[in-house]
């Protein structure tokens, strides 16, 4: 249940792509190591957490950790967050161009809404699809590419094209 709670937390709001996921894991890893060194806890968060939402993380830690001075119990909560990150489903998106951040956000939004859950998208570029998108999720492929549309069109219109050629 705790895992679900972490996933629904705002801390993951910034994580849209695989790159974001790697960055987040890295930050949590660093923080978890740093916990056992001497120093102020808040300073450690400021130093190690940049991509993830510091406020959201602090909120989570305060809600779930009874003693913030105890690095062991803090490390346990951070470990829980990391496990939650590993459980976020990944959907591969193949596009014909390198999308802008705005496009990535829109794509992610569409995907999350479509699947009604938090999803991390793994964007890959393949110019052969010309345009549109190919979505791969748990081994299933949904092809909405221009390449597929053209293939279908030329297959259907093969007879007409041939008759045009022989006129």
């Amino acid at each position: 249940m705790k895992t679900d709670f972490y996933q629904n937390s705002d801390i993951f709001n910034n994580i849209l792509t695989m790159n974001d996921l790697f960055k987040s894991k890295e930050e949590l890893e660093k923080l978890s190591v740093d916990l056992f060194t001497s120093g102020n806890f808040l300073e450690k968060i400021n130093q190690n957490i940049n991509f993830l939402s510091r406020e959201s993380l602090l909120k989570l830690l305060m809600q779930n950790c009874p003693n913030l001075d105890n690095p062991g119990s803090l490390e346990k909560v951070i470990e829980g967050i990391r496990e939650s990150l590993n459980k976020i489903p990944i959907v591969t998106i193949i596009v014909a161009f390198n999308p802008s951040q705005g496009a990535v956000e829109k794509i992610s939004d569409f995907i999350c809404q479509s699947f009604s859950k938090r999803i991390v998208i793994d964007i890959k570029v393949d110019s052969e699809i010309i345009g549109g998108v190919k979505i791969i999720y748990e081994g299933n492929i949904k092809d909405f590419s221009i390449k597929r549309l053209l293939d279908r069109y030329f297959q259907e219109q093969k007879g007409s094209i041939q008759s045009l050629l022989h006129e």
Binding site: V95, F97, A103, K142, I146, Q162
Partner: protein, 230 residues
């Protein structure tokens, strides 16, 4: 001097035995002389017998030789007589045979010539008949052969004609199939080229903005049609 009794007995015994021995030797001597005289007599008699036998054998040989000479002389005489007789008989037989042969030659010569002429004529007639028969048979066979060849030629011509026609049809059919296959290949290649050109043209004409717009529209459409939930 006293001589023991037993020595006297031994002495006397010895003299007796010696006397017997002398007598025995004398007897042997006499027997040897008798044997020698018998041997001489025997030798003498045998030499007499041998000389008599030799003389008799010589007489016999002389007589036998004379007899043999007589026999040889007689046989020589007989042999010359027999030889003369045989020569005479041989001449006689030869003469008789030559006369007989001469007669036969004269009588049979004519007959042989006649028979030969008849046989020759017979052979000629037979040969003529055979030649005529062979000629007519050959003509008939030639005619038959010509007919067969003619029929076979017509049949072959028909067969070849049919075969050429069927081969032609087959070749025409194969050409049509080949043409269709090649045309299909060309059409397929042309279709591919047109598609490729279209794709390249689209790639060049689609800007990133247009592409993004199309992408979002596609996603929106997919979401509306619940494609992503399937």
């Amino acid at each position: 001097m006293f001589i023991p009794y037993y020595l006297i007995i031994i002495f006397i015994g010895f003299f007796i035995l010696f006397g017997f021995y002398i007598i025995y030797l004398y007897y042997l001597y006499n027997r040897e002389r008798e044997f020698e005289s018998y041997k001489k007599q025997l030798d003498h008699r045998s030499s007499d017998i041998l000389s008599k036998a030799t003389n008799k054998a010589q007489d016999l040989i002389i007589k036998a030789t004379e007899k043999a000479k007589d026999i040889i002389m007689t046989s020589e005489y007989l042999k010359s007589e027999i030889k003369e007789d045989l020569e005479e008989q041989k001449k006689q037989i030869l003469k008789e045979y030559s006369d007989e042969i001469r007669h036969l030659h004269l009588t049979l010569g004519k007959s042989f010539e006649q028979i030969g002429a008849e046989i020759k004529q017979g052979f000629l007639d037979q040969a003529k008949k055979s030649i005529v028969k062979v000629e007519s048979s050959f003509d008939q066979e030639l005619e038959d052969f010509k007919q067969v060849i003619k029929n076979q030629t017509v049949l072959s011509q028909n067969h070849i004609g049919q075969r050429i026609s069927s081969e032609f049809e087959k070749a025409e059919e194969e050409i049509q199939i080949y043409k269709k296959n090649e045309l299909d290949k060309i059409n397929f290649k042309i279709g591919m080229i047109i598609q490729k050109v279209t794709e390249e043209a689209l790639k060049d004409s689609l800007t990133i903005e247009l592409n993004e717009k199309f992408l979002l529209e596609t996603l929106e459409k997919a979401r509306r049609e619940s494609f992503l939930k399937e």
